[in-house]
């Protein structure tokens, strides 16, 4: 498009924008963090703390907007034009999806920040009813005759994929690498799931509010939050012998920050997530800090157990997604509703 034409169109658009009242002229900076479901409380606290720090350092007022929903759905919204300055999603695969389906950020996004771009981590734990009436201590206990398991649908939920992979990794380890055995274990596990909710929060509600099932597989942070909100007299957390290191990654959406002129503040925001202050907030919200000093202070809160990682046990998210969760993948083979 020629420069004059594009300038003319821009002028017209500007006029239309004013007429329609769409041109939001902000004296202060606003940026948008598009995140997944369980992080609402975490980012509410971090955003306030970041804004205070940014004001003190630069004299600029910054407001960080929050948008939450299922991780895959949020990635879809960013691809469709939700103008995120940064995304903080449940798993790398969803940010990969943004990189693949748009030109908003580079495919090497995960190498740009420390720890695979994951400022905090979590693990998959069990949530059981108070007193643990079914005696669920570890993964094999999930297959006891009368145990019903609640976990969301791995096709739609990020947390559900971590749950599935944690179970798979345990079974593979136990059988000395026998995939047929792992498939049997996970198949048996999912035959005990009475309802697959679309997202992690939905499953928590099913388990805690509707009182379905004997054990909920979920994020450690989500389990702590459920205990905090729904009562330590009703629920308790069981940490299994092994689990998976869940790394919810963060990324700068280059295409949007350049349009908004927010690159500087958005980059500072992501760096801030790794700072001791933000790490402290993460730990208070039951996310495992990656900062060793902060982690040491909260050692009691986060039991150390052997953890597999997605890269080491599954060869990364692309591999895991293709093998397990794509149409016709192992999950489709083992999950037969109503049987």
């Amino acid at each position: 498009m020629s420069d004059r034409l594009s300038r003319a169109i821009r002028g017209a658009a500007f006029a239309i924008g004013i007429v329609a009242g769409m041109s939001a002229a902000h004296a202060d900076t606003t940026m948008l963090n598009v995140s997944y479901d369980p992080t609402r409380e975490l980012y509410k606290a971090i955003n306030e703390s970041f804004a205070a720090k940014w004001l003190a350092e630069t004299g600029e007022v910054v407001t960080v907007g929050q948008s939450h929903g299922g991780s895959g759905k949020q990635a879809r919204a960013v691809i469709d034009g939700l103008e995120a300055d940064v995304v903080t999603l449940a798993l790398a695969y969803d940010i990969d999806a943004i990189a693949r389906n748009s030109d908003l950020l580079g495919k090497d996004w995960q190498e740009r920040l420390p720890n695979n771009s994951s400022p905090y981590t979590s693990i998959i734990v069990f949530l059981v009813r108070k007193g643990n009436p079914k005696g669920i201590k570890d993964w094999p206990d999930l297959l006891k005759p009368d145990v019903q398991v609640i976990t969301p649908n791995p096709k739609t939920s990020g947390g559900a994929r971590w749950n599935y992979l944690a179970a798979w990794a345990y079974a593979l380890e136990q059988s000395g690498g026998d995939e047929a055995e792992a498939k049997r274990f996970v198949g048996d596990l999912y035959s005990r799931v009475p309802v697959l909710d679309a997202g992690a929060r939905g499953s928590t509600t099913t388990f805690a509010q509707r009182e379905l099932g004997d054990v909920l597989l979920t994020w450690e942070n989500e389990a702590h939050l459920a205990v905090k909100h729904l009562g330590a007299d009703k629920l308790e957390i069981v940490v299994p012998s092994t689990s998976i290191l869940a790394e919810p990654p963060v990324a700068l959406i280059d295409g949007n920050v350049d349009d908004h002129g927010t690159r500087r503040v958005a980059e500072a925001y992501l760096r801030y997530l790794y700072s001791p202050d933000a790490q402290e907030i993460a730990a208070q919200n039951f996310y495992r800090p990656t900062d060793q000093t902060v982690a040491a202070r909260y050692a009691d809160q986060f039991p150390q157990i052997p953890l597999v990682t997605i890269d080491q046990a599954f060869g990364g998210w692309q591999e895991a997604q293709k093998k397990h969760f794509a149409d016709g993948g192992i999950f489709d083979q083992i999950y037969r509703p109503g049987q």
Partner: protein
């Protein structure tokens, strides 16, 4: 049912009077026991399906006491959601009044090619699922949509923005005003307008002094229905909202968010505000019917 049938018939351009012969004998012949059993079944059904859920919303909202309720309602994000809902309805409803009046006027008072096609198009939002109504805007105006690249070039934002919420709401509530007015205007015919014109009134004057006063009550009724739906719409706005806290969350969306955040009292408090708005609308409608029942009845038949 009768009203609908009349409506359908009057759209076709006919007016049919219900058969008067049936009034000569008793309308029902069933024994009293059967009649009362049927009435009781109806009442129980209404209680279980309509009244109890409504009561439970208010009960849940007030479960933590009035102070908790006020705290939940006074939250900044809640007020923003209320303001946004009123803003969206405040833009969508007047526009749909203009569109609906224009469409009904054109359809009822003029003959032109494609009239039945226009009627079908007006009905389209009734038959399309609200989620689809939202998705079509994402498909058209989203970053990867048909107009996405052009809109980006022009720096115009439609989806995940108040504009998108207003568009989706206009689409979903489009038929309400037009559908109220079309049968009414068709029943009234064109005689009065023709008389006004032949006496020398201009088109505008005829519209303001003849057409509009004739349909005023029907219009008001349509506005109330349109407004109730505009404020309560969930599916379509959920797709185009982007769920940005304090920015693009309307009240129905905010209810869902609060519920998912374990804030059950907050969720039901906001839900009770929405229900309150709906009840105000219904009461307003009933008051109008009661106070001006005869004039309403003269203009419209249900």
């Amino acid at each position: 049912m009768v009203a609908q049938a009349r409506r359908a018939l009057s759209i076709a351009g006919e007016t049919v009077e219900p058969a008067g012969a049936a009034q000569a004998r008793r309308a029902t012949t069933e024994p009293p026991l059967v009649r009362w059993a049927l009435i009781a079944a109806g009442v129980v059904f209404i209680l279980l399906v309509l009244v109890l859920p409504l009561i439970s919303v208010f009960m849940e909202a007030l479960r933590g006491g009035a102070a908790t309720f006020l705290h939940a309602v006074g939250d900044g994000d809640t007020w923003q959601a209320v303001r946004l809902t009123l803003l969206v309805a405040g833009i969508a409803v007047p526009l749909n009044v203009v569109f609906g009046l224009a469409a009904a006027w054109a359809i009822a008072k003029f003959d032109f090619r494609g009239k039945s096609l226009l009627i079908t198009l007006i009905d389209l939002p009734f038959s399309v699922s609200p989620v689809i109504s939202g998705l079509i805007y994402v498909l058209l105006y989203g970053a990867n949509g048909w107009f996405g690249p052009a809109l980006k070039e022009l720096d115009i934002k439609i989806i995940f923005n108040v504009t998108g919420l207003v568009l989706a709401t206009i689409f979903v509530t489009f038929p309400f005003v037009a559908r109220e007015l079309i049968p009414l205007m068709q029943e009234q015919g064109r005689d009065e307008e023709e008389a006004a014109i032949s006496l020398g009134a201009s088109g505008w004057r005829t519209f303001w002094h003849v057409t509009l006063p004739n349909v005023a009550w029907g219009l008001l009724y349509g506005v109330l229905l349109c407004n109730a739906r505009a404020m309560g719409e969930f599916g379509a706005v959920s797709v185009v909202s982007g769920h940005i806290r304090g920015l693009t969350n309307t009240m129905p969306l905010h209810v869902e968010i609060l519920y998912n955040e374990y804030d059950f009292v907050g969720a039901f408090a906001v839900a009770s505000l929405l229900a309150g708005l709906a009840i105000v609308t219904l009461v307003a409608k009933s008051l109008l019917e009661w106070r001006y029942g005869d004039r309403l009845a003269a203009g419209r038949k249900h």
